[in-house]
């Protein structure tokens, strides 16, 4: 396997302590001529850039390049490209990097499903994962997944798993979870058997909210030597974060601590901090996307100063006060948007449903997210993450677990929430089909 994970210190491999490390990828880079083998490195904790159809939301490549210092890691979901049960692999000649024009120095992770779509109508069976597409439901069998991986040649894959859909523990019976654990284990075996491309497998750690079943699933994974890392994509989304993290920690105690851990659905800044403190290494940038879709600009800061007064963590560009405000989104921000444009213009673009609004906001929000992770890593190196995080929670009013009352939904005290933010994305200027896609997921 060309991917390895290095932890900064042996002590850091304690099961649920925050850890500083790096993912190192060793593979050929560049074309057939002049191919090199530089070490591609991802300093952790870090995030994979969330993409739709292989591009970060709203950002074509030359615009994405305006955001400095983004981690060299990208995640793509197969469902964006699965238009039939028997896809023509020829279209991916040269691999997924080439197909989506991703620089070969990027670590490319292939997942099955889009993490921002949390409600799905298509149900899995014993043999396949069901993916809704324009032309009806697609059946993604572990074997088909492996075949596609063999031609797409990503660096990391998250193999298909039977994810428990019901959002609340009260709705999910033990039998359903038990089925999910058995199916996921069977699918993983089938997938591994059919893989010929040397790829790092980040296996989903399942078991939903059942500690007993989480134990079974985790022990089975811990016994395998063909797994490069772990993915937590099966923790009930509607549960409070603390509860979710307790479930994750339960699994972590049974798993190989030297392997990297990726958690989905925890990309909001407060969730990232709590998850990092619980030992999670990898996230994705769904949060900045959610912020952008709401017409908000991120303003949160970890560390950097020690003010404790309550501050807003984002700026609402929809509000009328922005109409004649010729200041940058954030004073002193060095992102492309803040250097070139002012609040008034972005407010105008939102009001007139111009697509440039989300382009400019996404640039700023990605810049901000990157900076946040940079500060997390620095804070970890200083050994001050716990204190910095406590100050952060205090400053942005997230000491209490988020309860979404309307009054809290003001700028100050609006809880960080990936899902709350995504739920209302109809207001953003976007294409018709995208709107339809979200309208459908909400109508259920």
């Amino acid at each position: 396997m060309a991917l390895r994970f290095e932890l900064a210190s042996a002590k850091a491999s304690a099961t649920s302590a925050p850890r500083r490390g790096k993912l190192v990828l060793d593979r050929l880079v560049g074309g057939d001529v002049g191919a090199e083998r530089p070490a591609i490195m991802l300093e952790t904790p870090s995030f994979f850039k969330y993409t739709r159809h292989g591009l970060q939301p709203h950002l074509v490549l030359e615009v994405a390049a305006e955001v400095d210092a983004l981690p060299p890691a990208t995640r793509v979901q197969l469902e964006d490209f699965l238009d039939s049960d028997t896809p023509d692999c020829n279209q991916f000649e040269g691999g997924l990097h080439k197909f989506i024009a991703l620089d070969t120095t990027e670590i490319l992770m292939l997942d099955t499903m889009d993490p921002t779509i949390t409600v799905r109508t298509a149900k899995p069976t014993n043999t396949y994962m069901a993916i809704g597409s324009e032309g009806g439901t697609r059946r993604l069998t572990p074997n088909l997944f492996a075949q596609l991986v063999n031609s797409l040649k990503p660096d990391i894959v998250i193999p298909p798993a039977d994810i428990v859909e019901e959002p609340l523990p009260s709705l999910t019976q033990g039998k359903r979870i038990s089925k999910s654990v058995t199916r996921s284990a069977k699918w993983l075996d089938e997938c591994m058997a059919a893989l010929t491309h040397p790829v790092a497998v980040f296996a989903p750690v399942v078991g939903s909210h059942s500690l007993e079943l989480r134990t079974i699933a985790a022990k089975a994974l811990a016994a395998r030597h063909d797994i490069a890392g772990y993915t937590f994509n099966d923790v009930c989304l509607a549960l409070p974060l603390e509860h979710k993290l307790r479930l994750v920690q339960h699994s972590l105690e049974l798993l190989d601590a030297s392997k990297p851990r990726y958690m989905l659905g925890a990309s909001a800044p407060d969730a990232v901090l709590r998850a990092v403190l619980s030992g999670i290494d990898l996230f994705d940038s769904t949060y900045p996307y959610a912020v952008t879709e709401q017409g908000l600009a991120s303003t949160y800061v970890l560390g950097e100063d020690d003010s404790t007064s309550l501050l807003p963590h984002c700026l609402d560009l929809w509000q009328e006060a922005m109409f004649a405000d010729f200041g940058p989104l954030v004073d002193g921000c060095t992102c492309f948007t803040c250097r070139s444009h002012h609040r008034s213009y972005i407010h105008h673009l939102l009001k007139t449903k111009e697509m440039l609004a989300t382009v400019l906001l996404q640039i700023h929000n990605m810049h901000w997210y990157q900076r946040f992770f940079d500060n997390i890593r620095r804070s970890l190196e200083r050994g001050s993450l716990a204190t910095d995080a406590a100050l952060f929670f205090q400053r942005y009013g997230c000491e209490e677990l988020p309860s979404s009352t309307n009054e809290q939904n003001k700028q100050v005290g609006r809880p960080f929430s990936e899902l709350d933010t995504l739920a209302a994305q109809l207001c953003s200027p976007t294409t018709k089909i995208q709107r339809k896609r979200h309208a459908e997921s909400q109508a259920i």
Partner: protein, 434 residues
């Protein structure tokens, strides 16, 4: 892509005009047709003509940053006065220091008068000598747009070129209404000139009207020429009239308008129209078509329009156009674009970028061909690629009027057969594989 200097070492203009806010220099003239290549020095930028100007209705071009527009070599873009006047409004634009500063665009800007939207978007528009009376779509109140108000709005927006408010009638209208509108447009021009407060910073272009009537158009053009404006527009066309009438009205107008000033044909943007109208002596064009069609997943190529959503592109590993140097063609296959077109905003952006690059490249090729005095050969090659053997009658006729006869074979052996096809249709780029 970087800015090119297709004029090479030409430094002495053949003809020129000097207005307080616009210097126009004709550097090359086609020795066969009426085409010419020029530099138009505007307060914010020196544009090269013939030029296509993409439309940025609300102060942005569909998800494309101004930095990208510069990289695409756009020299002038359009803003719509009606839309910008209601949102964000003239007060804010004035406070922001004009539209250039508001949207961070340092090159040329042109604004229309707002009159066209009054008529096209609003029901119940009522035109009187005073101006256009209309119902405000937001509160239902009766409002009036006068020539003075249009200029006031455009002065606040601060574009390099402003258009007079004209009395727009559909190009299909006939009878005394056309003549009334033509004379009223002249009177409104005089009121606009009087109301214009920034003549040394902004240019006011009058608009030739007169419907499809030769006498009225002639009279209109003659009246406007008397006002000695920095440039002139040809209006009231591209509204569904027969293409045979369209080109005749364009050609008639360019014959009367002064040769040392820019001529702008409004609302024209199909590739074949750009090639033909340039041969008739037009210098400037605008159209929403290239950016609008991109959002429906259609990519422009020399052979026509490629609908990337069609299943036939799902495993097509070619770029949209091998010869295109835009970032979309450098990076993506049609198969990729097929998966994302009309689904993601980035899918729109990628095709929009290509379509703008396509228009810019076409205009650059037109300018180069004129500078090198091989425009007739360029036209033949263009028509051969676009239509093959059967070229719409109106194109054959229009070109014949400027001494390019497609029905007589040239050295390349290309010979076109005119087909009676007055209906404007973009050819589908798909041809059966050999």
């Amino acid at each position: 892509m970087t800015a090119t200097n297709e004029f090479g070492h030409l430094d002495t203009p053949l003809e020129a005009s000097n207005s307080p806010a616009l210097k126009f220099e004709v550097f090359a003239k086609c020795s066969t047709t009426k085409a010419r290549a020029s530099k138009m020095h505007l307060p914010h930028y020196t544009a090269h003509t013939p030029i296509f100007m993409p439309v940025g209705t609300m102060g942005s071009i569909k998800g494309i940053t101004t930095k990208q527009l510069e990289a695409l070599d756009c020299h002038v873009i359009l803003g719509n006065t009606y839309h910008l006047g209601s949102r964000p409004g003239p007060e804010l634009l004035e406070k922001a220091g004009g539209l250039h500063k508001f949207m961070a665009w340092n090159r040329g800007l042109l604004t229309d008068s707002g009159g066209f939207q009054m008529v096209s978007l609003l029901k119940l528009a009522n035109i009187t000598e005073e101006g256009v009376e209309f119902e405000n779509p937001h509160d239902g109140q009766k409002m009036m747009l006068t020539p003075e108000m249009s200029i006031g709005l455009q002065n606040a927006i601060g574009a390099d070129i402003m258009m007079q408010l004209d009395d727009v009638v559909s190009s299909l209208t006939t009878g005394p209404r056309v003549e009334e509108a033509m004379w009223r447009s002249v009177r409104w021009l005089d009121r606009s000139i009087k109301a214009h407060k920034r003549p040394t910073e902004q240019n006011l272009f009058p608009i030739v009207q007169g419907g499809l009537d030769i006498e009225l158009r002639t009279k209109s053009a003659q009246e406007l020429v008397k006002r000695d404006s920095p440039g002139y527009a040809i209006g009231g066309l591209s509204g569904g009239e027969a293409k045979g009438s369209f080109w005749r009205m364009v050609s008639l107008s360019t014959d009367i308008l002064p040769t040392n000033k820019p001529r702008y044909c409004m609302g024209v943007g199909y590739a074949e129209d750009l090639v033909v109208c340039s041969a008739l002596g037009v210098d400037m064009y605008d159209c929403v078509f290239p950016t609008r069609t991109a959002r429906f997943g259609n990519a422009l190529v020399r052979t026509g329009s490629m609908s990337l959503k069609q299943g036939r592109y799902s495993a097509d590993l070619e770029p949209i156009d091998r010869d295109c140097d835009c970032s979309t063609c450098a990076n993506y296959t049609r198969a990729y674009l097929h998966t994302t077109a009309t689904k993601e905003t980035t899918g729109c952006h990628l095709i929009t970028i290509h379509n703008i690059a396509f228009q810019m490249r076409l205009m650059l090729d037109i300018r180069k061909a004129i500078v090198e005095d091989r425009y007739p050969a360029f036209i033949r090659e263009f028509m051969r690629i676009r239509f093959g053997k059967t070229v719409p009658m109106w194109i054959v006729d229009a070109l014949k009027s400027v001494n390019v006869d497609l029905t007589v074979p040239d050295s390349s052996g290309y010979l076109a057969e005119p087909v009676a096809d007055d209906f404007q249709k973009v050819p589908n780029a798909w041809t059966e594989p050999n």
